[in-house]
């Protein structure tokens, strides 16, 4: 029933902990980059982050965001293009903190970014200590090509959900597909269920 690739043995160089590497992924020590267009470079004095709910908008400047309590987290990340990177260290502000300050509540969020990129998530996947607006990586400011000055970090979903160059979250009643989701990628993106594409 199951197809076998004649002569394929595999290198299995780093099987790692099977409990940490989702199906179809391989572990890399590098940090590959995938983005659809040029890397934006918004100056920090023009940068803001907003929580938007209907007509209400709560906005933080860069300094205001950095003045909020931040956390350092150690997480594994999984890209839909099949690399996983274990034990990555990030610094950021919990999305819980931002939503509490804004007093915003709705079933879904649509993250929006410089460059027009968007991605959709259920609010319960960015609350309860599961998501951050991250501005530090491995003890350094987050590099622009990896999403700096700040990106969303939602490590339990495929990494396209951790939107680079994030500028805010729009709270929504409906699960509006974001950029990659519109092009056939999965609406939710759970790596443990291999939800890569629509219908997976």
């Amino acid at each position: 029933m199951s197809f076998i690739s004649r002569g394929f043995k595999g290198r299995r160089r780093d099987p790692g902990d099977p409990g940490r590497v989702p199906p179809g992924q391989y572990v890399t020590d590098d940090f590959p980059v995938l983005s659809a267009g040029p890397t934006p470079h918004t100056p920090l004095d023009e940068w803001t982050f907003s929580i938007v709910e209907g007509d209400e908008r709560t906005t933080w400047t860069w300094d205001e965001l950095r003045a909020l309590p931040s956390e350092t987290v150690n997480v594994d990340i999984h890209c839909v293009t099949r690399w996983s990177k274990l034990d990555t260290t990030w610094e950021g502000v919990s999305v819980d903190t931002l939503l509490e300050e804004a007093g915003a509540e709705a079933p879904y969020v649509l993250a929006f970014c410089d460059g027009g990129y968007t991605t959709n998530l259920p609010t319960e996947d960015v609350t309860g200590g599961k998501a951050w607006v991250a501005f530090g990586y491995d003890g350094e400011p987050l590099d622009p090509e990896h999403g700096g000055p700040a990106r969303l970090l939602v490590p339990h979903l495929y990494f396209w959900k951790s939107a680079k160059w994030v500028r805010g979250l729009a709270l929504r009643e409906d699960d509006e597909p974001g950029f990659w989701e519109t092009y056939g990628y999965h609406l939710y993106g759970d790596p443990w269920r291999e939800q890569r594409y629509s219908g997976d």
Binding site: F3, I4, D30, V33, S35, G37, P38, G115, G184, G199
Partner: protein, 247 residues
């Protein structure tokens, strides 16, 4: 743009290797017979899945090298520390089966319908999806003006060289060789830099659309230079692969 997406379930099928073409010592094109292929657009990719006898699996994505309407083909560069690319370039042979699903992706695509000139910028094996666009342009008789700027280490590393030398005047191909070049070489012989791009890229006022594909550092540099030349970021589409990327 939302309407462009085809949201349907992608299922794994067993394709058959019809032909292999050794493009360079490290790069091979694999032409496939894919059952129930729905067709693809220039620039899309597909997923390949290899399964060992004990059930161990490895999956990777590869850009589709052939034009819409042609048999599906992928072009694979062998990465010495790779897991899938050595199998595809050294073990796989005509008549073998190979599991795949696709096509995937709807952003880094060119359908050939727009009047704006096309700028294609390739670094190494990043030429693969751009070659699909060039072939699509040729086959469809598109009137779009096309320029391909293709950076390789040496002349021997140039993939599809004979084909690209014969595109005719509707597709201009400009090479640059970054490591070594033959005596009397008349192309560029340095890394793509802002000055080189300014010479090769369509003038900003032409409203060109740009597709850039290659290693991350290459794509970063080219995309930034195009924006500095005045290209609107939304008209510069990129696709990148990391040092150990499986493509």
């Amino acid at each position: 743009m939302a309407g462009a997406a085809v949201l349907r379930r992608l299922t794994w099928v067993v394709a058959t290797v019809e032909e292999v073409v050794e493009e360079t010592p490290r790069v091979r094109t694999i032409v496939l017979d894919v059952p129930d292929w729905t067709g693809h657009r220039a620039g899309q990719h597909l997923d390949v899945r290899l399964t060992a006898e004990d059930g161990y699996r490895a999956e990777r994505e590869y850009s589709i090298a052939s034009a819409p309407g042609e048999p599906v083909a992928i072009t694979v560069e062998r990465l010495e520390d790779g897991e899938v690319s050595p199998y595809l370039t050294q073990e796989l042979r005509v008549g073998d089966g190979i599991e795949l699903r696709g096509p995937v992706g709807g952003y880094f695509v060119w359908d050939g319908e727009d009047a704006a000139p096309l700028l294609l910028v390739a670094g190494g094996s990043g030429v693969v999806p751009l070659r699909s666009m060039v072939r699509h342009h040729q086959r469809s008789g598109s009137a779009t003006r096309v320029r391909l700027l293709y950076s390789s280490r040496t002349l021997d590393d140039v993939i599809y060289r004979m084909e690209l030398d014969e595109t005719g005047e509707r597709v201009e191909v400009v090479y640059t060789l970054t490591r070594d070049h033959p005596a009397g070489w008349r192309g560029y012989a340095r890394r793509v830099d802002p000055d080189l791009l300014a010479e090769v890229a369509w003038p900003v006022d032409d409203g060109a659309r740009a597709f850039v594909c290659g290693p991350t550092s290459f794509v970063e540099a080219v995309a930034m230079s195009l924006v500095e030349l005045g290209y609107a970021p939304a008209r510069v589409k990129t696709e990148r692969f990391g040092a150990t990327g499986g493509r």
